[in-house]
Amino acid sequence: MAATNKSRRRWLILIAATILLATVWYSWQRFRNPPPWSDEERNLIASLWIENLQPLPPDATNAVADDPRAQALGHRLFFDVRLSGNGMISCSTCHQPIRHFSDGLPKGVALGISKRNTPSIVGSAYSPWLYWDGRKDSPWSQALSPLEDPNEHGSDRLKILSVIASDAAYRRAYESLFGAPPDLSRQQDIDRAFANVGKAIAAYERLLKHGTSRFDEYVVHIEAGGDSLNQNIFSINEIKGLRLFIGEARCTECHNGPLFSNNEFHNTGLLSIAGETPDRGRIDGVRTLLADPFNCFGEFSDDPTRACSELRFARMGAELIGATRTPSLRNLVNTAPFQSKGQFQTLLEVLQHYNRAPLAMIGHNEAKALGLSNWELRNLAAFLHTLAAPIAADQHWLQPPPID
């Protein structure tokens, strides 16, 4: 009798253990394998695909924007340390090709310390606004500012024009593009020639475009009807991160389109850094821009119609207080630290900030708290890492030109 009882109990334990194991296994599978993408999700994913990026529109304000001679001249100027007060700083001091044309520092360091974090140049020609505060409206006009900023190149337009005049190759290239050298006794001539320097640099910068990332490969795979789960491009965590990115985490509200940016200005409640008051952002940027003689309306723009389809309709107002430009997320893993003042060292810190969405010090934080778990934030970060890609430009553009 005792023996039968014992064996019956053993059976019961066995059955219970089996049921428990099966349940655990089932839940684990549910956890491991997220559901397939819905049609809506597929559309959202495809909208982020690099192949859906329109060809770079022509820059009407820059007549030499796509001229190969200007590209070559701009390439040399970009790497030329003579365009600085101490003969040691070039554009590539902060915009280092090896770091995806940024510098790995919280704020740029050249002759002094810049006001904000050095953004990557790659893909920047697509944006109607330049700088974190949007105080420039064309890449050529942007390129002029660092040259005369005492904390950056610390040079001035006259010195820069004299470098060009003293270098035979520069002089030839300049004259073939822009005609006779400037009359240095006339301010307007000086300013025009200075703008031309920016236009050549911008022509070079337009060549720097984003390449294909692992995310784009994944899009190709699922667009071709491949299995969204069983593939060797994206891990389960990356898929979960992507699902959060286009869904619950609401990232695509601002980081949308193939460049993961709407190029607009948003206040996201960032804390000011030590020694500084909160960044006023676009509210000052737009005023500076409207007063800038090198803006789209100005006399140095090459667009005779002065269409200025963005500047003409630029908005003012309280929403712009403390608002900075949405940066592209492509290759952001190579552009740490993050945010306009380099407030965050890691992606996880950035995501934790958006997850909390604290009240802004100045203005109004547009973001809403997300309430995601740390696991979910890690998955989001895992997804963001899949946006790394080589620069889609010929190798010789990514290093200093040979000296001739």
């Binding site: 601002c254 020694g275 006023r280 509210i283 003409r312 929403e319 009240l359 010090m361 100045i362």
Partner: protein, 327 residues
């Protein structure tokens, strides 16, 4: 349930008791109004707050700063007059002997104000929002003096607010009050979240029943709120996509189907669910005749529900049309 109500009542009663003396303690020019810290510079008001970002992050203080360190003072103007006024900001050690009751007269009585000044921002016009940075190395009593001089009338308005930095010796009561307040706030927010959730759900239901804008050149016509006009639009960008600046042609008819010409039109809009407006200022660039108007500078920078409000003034009538789009 009864217990809950009782608990709530007790909390409320205890809070009101503690809050009453708090109100009388308001320091000069800075007061709490409806949970908002406000500085009154004459009749000019600004939302006032102080941060010690490197130590206490996003924590806001109304005037007393509990910790030494680098403080950021913020005045967000609630009155446009401040955007145009010359503002000067001075912080002095409180040597008046009147602690939190120091007033402008007491400051005027000080012989050498510069000797006790630890911060001075000379008069400047700072639009939209005023910020300043000041490090406090010592605990103690201080006074802030803010003046706003109107550049048009030349009138000067001044606010004085005594405040303390560092440990504020008031014993254990503030902590108890803070604890109770927290409980109450928590309760308040919990109940608010519930109603907010319900409101959002209701809004979603209402919205889902609203007609959404068809993004292809649509034949749909939108009636103005008082019914004076009917409006159709055709976009030169088809389908309407985000992040692209483009233009629309509006066709405006009166209620009886006649083309409305020579109207004054203005455009506003935004995403009500995100509390933000349009990223651009679209406007009429051309009247095309027979009630048609070209509006340029339209750009949407997010997917989701958008509203565009077209205000039409035909001379005889003025009315608004609300066009909604789902992008």
């Amino acid at each position: 349930m009864v217990f809950n109500l009782l608990r709530r009542y007790c909390l409320f009663a205890s809070l009101s008791l503690f809050l009453l003396p708090g109100i009388t303690l308001a320091h000069g020019g800075v007061v709490e109004e409806d949970d908002l810290c406000v500085i009154n510079i004459g009749y000019l008001k600004a939302h006032f707050k102080i941060y010690v970002p490197q130590q206490t992050g996003h924590d806001e203080y109304c005037e007393d700063i509990p910790i030494r360190g680098e403080s950021v003072f913020v005045m967000e103007y609630q009155h446009d007059g401040l955007s145009e006024a010359e503002i000067d900001f001075r912080i002095i050690r409180n040597v008046t002997g009147k602690s939190t009751f120091a007033r402008l007269e007491d400051i005027r009585a000080i012989d050498d104000i510069d000797a006790i000044t630890i911060h001075y921002t000379a008069p400047t016009v700072v639009p939209d929002v005023f910020t300043l940075l000041q490090s406090f190395d010592e605990d103690g009593e201080y006074i802030g003096i803010v003046s706003a001089a109107r550049t048009d009338t030349g009138k000067v308005y001044t606010a004085v607010f005594p405040f303390e930095v560092g440990y504020i010796g008031v014993g254990i009561w503030p902590w108890i009050i803070a604890g109770l307040l927290l409980l109450q706030l928590n309760y308040f927010f919990m109940s608010r979240r519930r109603t907010k959730g319900a409101a959002i759900a209701a809004a979603v239901i209402v919205l889902s029943t609203l007609p959404t804008g068809n993004v292809t050149a649509d034949e749909k016509s939108w009636a103005s709120s008082a019914g004076y006009f009917r409006v159709q639009y055709a976009s030169d960008l088809e389908p309407i996509a985000i992040n692209k600046i483009h233009s629309w042609v509006l066709h405006i008819e009166s209620a009886d189907g006649k083309a409305v010409t020579g109207a004054k039109i203005s455009i506003d809009g935004g995403m009500p669910e995100h509390d933000h407006g349009l990223p651009t200022v679209p406007r009429v660039i051309e009247e095309l005749g027979s009630g048609r108007y070209r509006i340029a500078g339209i750009r949407f920078h997010m997917g989701g529900y958008w509203e565009l409000r077209i205000s039409i003034d035909s001379g005889s009538h003025r009315d608004d049309v609300l066009i909604t789009l789902e992008l």
